[in-house]
């Protein structure tokens, strides 16, 4: 079997990951709303019902807190559930189960029970779905000890990270992005895993370190191409997993470039970017030539109108301007 990468869509890569893991291990099962016959809103679970049957591919009632909790309880007793939550916005209904139960059970029981639970969900703005369907809420999970937080930006990472997530023995919040599902990219044919806590340099550069994740990666890469034309070489670092965070990769890059830009779609106040900035300033203080630039969502709910919506999250031009500020400070 050759390992020539094929071109797959992000959603196809995710689908392959689930297929392979469900074949490999029959304790893996998936559940969520409309994921069986319908294959999920973004078709990530398409075909699973036909191959694995209704015992392992389960359509749930609209009871987010409890089917999430059921996934956690199943995980605690020997299964490896992958629970799909349609929108990360609805994760707000499940946080007692996720944060007070899944994230704490192993700890509270003194290590008696593991919770190999994966929540797959998707976030971010896209095409006018408005305030209750557009949020970027990774910061909430990031702040809760006991959870792993994964945010892949391309098909390759999506597949390798989802497979790792399924095999992980502690809870994983796997956050996809609604605008990434149709993006294409190379995906190896062979089985592969991407370890948690291992970031990836998506573009090498020497002038400035740009840290981003999820849908801010493609946007930052386009911005970096334009900046290259102006002679600014941007290094684009994708941590891929926010928890655990590949601090070393970030700090190494910062020590080389001495300028930092962090791009996040989530609102500025209290986002993960602030935390990464706080780590950099603590651990690489003497290398910083200029303040860390954070390009982030405005501190607002997301409006319906497309023009207003676009103004609320970082666009290419915002990224370009921030890089210039960082470099020319």
């Amino acid at each position: 079997m050759s390992n020539e990468p094929r071109t797959l869509m992000y959603r196809e890569a995710l689908n392959e990951a689930l297929m392979e893991e469900m074949r490999r291990d029959d304790t893996v099962f998936v559940m969520g709303e409309g994921i069986a016959e319908r294959g999920g809103s973004y078709k990530v679970t398409a075909g699973l019902l036909a191959e694995f049957g209704e015992k392992r591919v389960i359509d749930t009632p609209l009871a987010e807190a409890s089917f999430t909790g059921a996934g956690i309880g199943a995980a605690l007793t020997g299964m490896r559930p992958v629970v799909e939550l349609l929108f990360i916005d609805f994760a707000l209904l499940t946080l007692d189960q996720v944060i007070n139960q899944a994230a704490k059970l192993k700890f509270m029981t003194g290590g008696q029970g593991n919770v190999p639970f994966v929540m797959r969900t998707q976030g971010g703005t896209g095409n006018g779905v408005a305030a209750q369907h557009s949020q970027s809420l990774e910061a909430i999970f990031y702040h809760a000890p006991g959870l792993n937080v994964v945010m892949p930006s391309c098909p390759h990472d999506a597949k390798g990270l989802l497979k790792t997530a399924v095999r992980h023995n502690d809870p994983v919040i796997f956050i996809e992005h609604k605008l990434l599902y149709m993006n294409e990219g190379p995906v190896p044919t062979d089985d592969y895993l991407i370890p948690f806590g291992q970031g990836d340099i998506k573009r090498r550069g020497s002038d400035v370190t740009l840290i981003a994740w999820s849908n801010m990666i493609p946007r930052s890469l386009t911005a970096a191409d334009k900046l290259a034309a102006e002679g600014i070489n941007v290094e684009v670092v994708d941590p891929r997993t926010l928890v655990p965070l590949d601090k070393e990769l970030i700090l190494d890059s910062v020590r080389r470039t001495e300028h930092v830009v962090i791009v996040q779609e989530a609102v500025r106040r209290g986002g993960v970017a602030s935390d990464i900035a706080s780590i950099i300033q603590a651990e690489a203080f003497d290398y910083l030539d200029a303040p860390i630039e954070i390009v982030a969502g405005l501190n607002t709910q997301i409006p319906f109108n497309l023009t207003l919506e676009a103004a609320c999250v970082p666009q290419e031009d915002d990224i370009i301007a921030a890089v210039k500020r960082a470099v020319y400070a």
């Binding site: 709303e33 409309g34 016959e37 319908r38 359509d59 749930t60 009632p61 609209l62 009871a63 987010e64 807190a65 409890s66 916005d89 609805f90 209904l93 095409n127 006018g128 779905v129 408005a130 305030a131 209750q132 369907h133 405005l298 501190n299 607002t300 409006p303 319906f304 109108n305 497309l306 023009t307 207003l308 103004a311 609320c312």
Partner: protein, 325 residues
Amino acid sequence: MASPVTTQDKTLLASLYETIYTIRVFESEGIKLYRKGLIRGYFHPYTGEEAIAVGVCAALREQDYITSTHRGHGHCIARGADIRKMTAELLGRATGYCRGRGGSMHIADMSAGNLGANGVVGAGTPLGVGAALGTSIRGEDRVTACFTSDGAVMNGTFGEALNLAAAWSLPFVLVVENNQYAVSTPVEQTTRELDLYKRGQGMGVHSVGIDGNDVVTVYDTMQDAIGRCQAGEGPVMIECRTFRHGGHHVNDPGLYLPQDKLQHYLEHDPLTVARQYLMDAGATEAEVADIDARVEASNEDAIAFAIDSPEPDLAEFLEEVEANE
């Protein structure tokens, strides 16, 4: 079931029919606007379920409140909204009810006591309980009607909120639009007890299951519920059996809907039923045609208004965001 008083009230029946048809036209023309790219985001048509909103809202008084759902255009219209401002909102314009900030899933018309649609299934019910609680604290004669759905009945907010209303004997009516599907999932797959109203009974709430496609039945049942609320016997749960005429939202062809069931409900159409009541009460074909023409004209006017309306001002929006920092 239908009370003779209602079936003989031609003025009322004409108004019920007119509102049902207004919703019907609003949705079918809205779908066209969506396909043209003029409306973005999610659009969940109310087509086939109109008798519920119309029967319930016709029984409500001016001072009453409603909460709505993700499938909320019908509730908004039945509660007396200006379809110009509704259409403008669907198009994301500055003249819309929410100044383009909300869109279809968040339309509200507070001036008419419509506390708003909701993008989170089930989340409007606690809000409605709160509205009813407020009226009860203030000692006012107001009823709050919460529209909700079969999917929402499986969610925690259903039992929590209805129980609160019951424990506190609030003037609260929970209207469950049981269209038998949550997106592609049939209700048979999500519950053992298909008579959803029995859940209300299990909590000691006066609860009934009715034909949600029969506007007179809905209206009469809601009248009765309001009476119970006024007598301090509230809350009431009304399960209205109905069916969508198509997919879950504009982009869903709804192929999973069983053809025979769909056919049955297409024939037992709320619009046809309402029209028949009106004719039986003595209306002529010409009278009905007049209503139809009026409805169609005002929908055209609403679309024209919306299309001519300006987009929200970006600078103004950014100032608002800044001010809220």
